[in-house]
Symmetry: C2
Subunit: 351 residues, 2 copies
Amino acid sequence: MYDVAERSGVSIATVSRVYRNPDSVRAQTRERVLEAARELGYVPSGNARGLASRTTGVLGLCFPDYADPDAEADAEADSDADDAVMLYSDQIIRGMERAARRHGYALLIAASLEGGPESLVAKVAGRVDGFAVLAQTVPTEDLEVISRRLPVVMLAGPREIDHLDHIVVANADGERELARHLIEDHGLRRLAFIGGEVESPDAEARFRGFQQACRDAGLPVPDAPDLRAEMMTQAEGARTAEALLDRNAGLSDSERPQAMLFANDQMAVGALRALERRGVRVPEDIAVTGFDGIPLSRIVRPPLTTVRQPIRQLGEQAVELLVQRLSDRERPPVSLMLPVSLARRASCGCG
Amino acid sequence: MYDVAERSGVSIATVSRVYRNPDSVRAQTRERVLEAARELGYVPSGNARGLASRTTGVLGLCFPDYADPDAEADAEADSDADDAVMLYSDQIIRGMERAARRHGYALLIAASLEGGPESLVAKVAGRVDGFAVLAQTVPTEDLEVISRRLPVVMLAGPREIDHLDHIVVANADGERELARHLIEDHGLRRLAFIGGEVESPDAEARFRGFQQACRDAGLPVPDAPDLRAEMMTQAEGARTAEALLDRNAGLSDSERPQAMLFANDQMAVGALRALERRGVRVPEDIAVTGFDGIPLSRIVRPPLTTVRQPIRQLGEQAVELLVQRLSDRERPPVSLMLPVSLARRASCGCG
DNA sequence: ATGAAAGCGCTAACAC
DNA sequence: GTGTTAGCGCTTTCAT
């Protein structure tokens, strides 16, 4: 910048103005500066600018490194599938990027990776004006500290820190509607719910929706999932499906569960495969459902009945909240709940 | 940082060390500093750090804002499709993010947006250690200037600036293989190629591959596409398909083209729809092929025979090149060509 | 309309 | 092991 100033015979202040506020500089002077900049290959330092102006024009996103090994394997085996499998995080990124662009921000993304005091978040946090965090990505204590300095919005998780904005999807409502569909529309009465990790607030909320549906229908209300998976992966889905089958081996047809409701799609997909191996037909012998609406859910046979999450919107709303808060730090924290929708497909007997 | 230093009774240099090189500080001192930092809600400024150390730990990606309006419409009409439609850019982002993470970098992404002297690239360029640009996203002159200061890799385009690293996919090879397949395996001899914009190097390279296949097979070699679309969108694909139909209306069956090869999938998909409306059966009456291997190509009926691009790898390789160049500015510019693969599906008569 | 000068928060030599 | 001290390249009053 000093070089540009010297070369064009002005002060660095003027060079600065040319970029920040072009109209405040005489056209002729401006041209001279721009010309010099071009000749010198001048690229303004975002760092210096950020340091001096205390803003970056960048919003951030931290998401977990989580990748289902089975999904990866699918992609390996069928290169065709690779293209189609859009991850949760991909969609959030897309949503955030679009919204950020509308507001003139760029997006900095980083998946969690362990580290010392110099963790992932710290890195991101130091380079953005505000950021979104996917639940279970960042230690709460880190967030606690960081959120004192800049806006943070929590995505798809419980509000771990009460002064943060956060956005969740209607997990309970979705599962309730799903179960209602099975009960009322398909006349099923014996439903098995396969939950996830106890610490997964999403999975727990879905179970509560399931309970609610049972209650609404006058069916017995379980006080815990029939089974819990450790990881919510395809492998665990397959394992739990088989466990359930084994457990019910001795029962008569009129006692056996008529449906397995999994806490997410990954598990349901794994279950579908396990059931096929065991020769159990879906949906004739038993209905299977998931939750999330991942692309894979449409591709498997039979296509999986599930609850679709508005993931793109999650990203878009995150940006809106960040932008709002950036302009008004005092606004009380908000908590958005995004609606979900039922995707009725063949695995429950529809279509 | 000064506050942290004061509160923990050390100098700012020590605070800095705690974060940058923890082992160079006595454990006890370190704890004291960390404690103070926690209490004060200290978040190191990436800007200041970047300014002082002259590196950011961030790599960038600039991609075009391009979104096929028809694809958007699809997503609107069938919310189910939305999830599945993964964009070119999404996959590159994914590839780059993964690779960047492996090397300890975060990723800054931004889609092109018009602006004054303060353009998109400038913003990104000033905040990263190096970045990748998708072809046709950034004015060549801007790149020219910026690439003098930091590593830039050009993606999927011609090497507009000869000292830049760049990566392309094997467009010509792919189209040649595709045409060879139609000619040899399906015995077709009258092929029509529908090209794209003249300025699209990809489309042109594909046409050259087509020519080569004709030459190889001893068929007449056209010196220009049978038709050119302006935009390479679904709408244009539909329009050109109908134009071709009309043009050939007077021909006998033995003169009419037996296949339409489109320069990309979007157009081919649009064509599929137009042909269906006209009552022309695919592949019975005519074969149709695309190029790219977008997810939609699998979903349409009949599934589209196409050439799959290794888009994720494009992103991964981009990061590798950037990292390499960051460690050796003198390395001569490299030019990678990534191999493509044929996806034989129903629209050409396979499967 | 333009210039001068004071930081912005940190890193990296170099002393101690 | 820890402190001192220069900047890093810009923005931003305040003058002129």
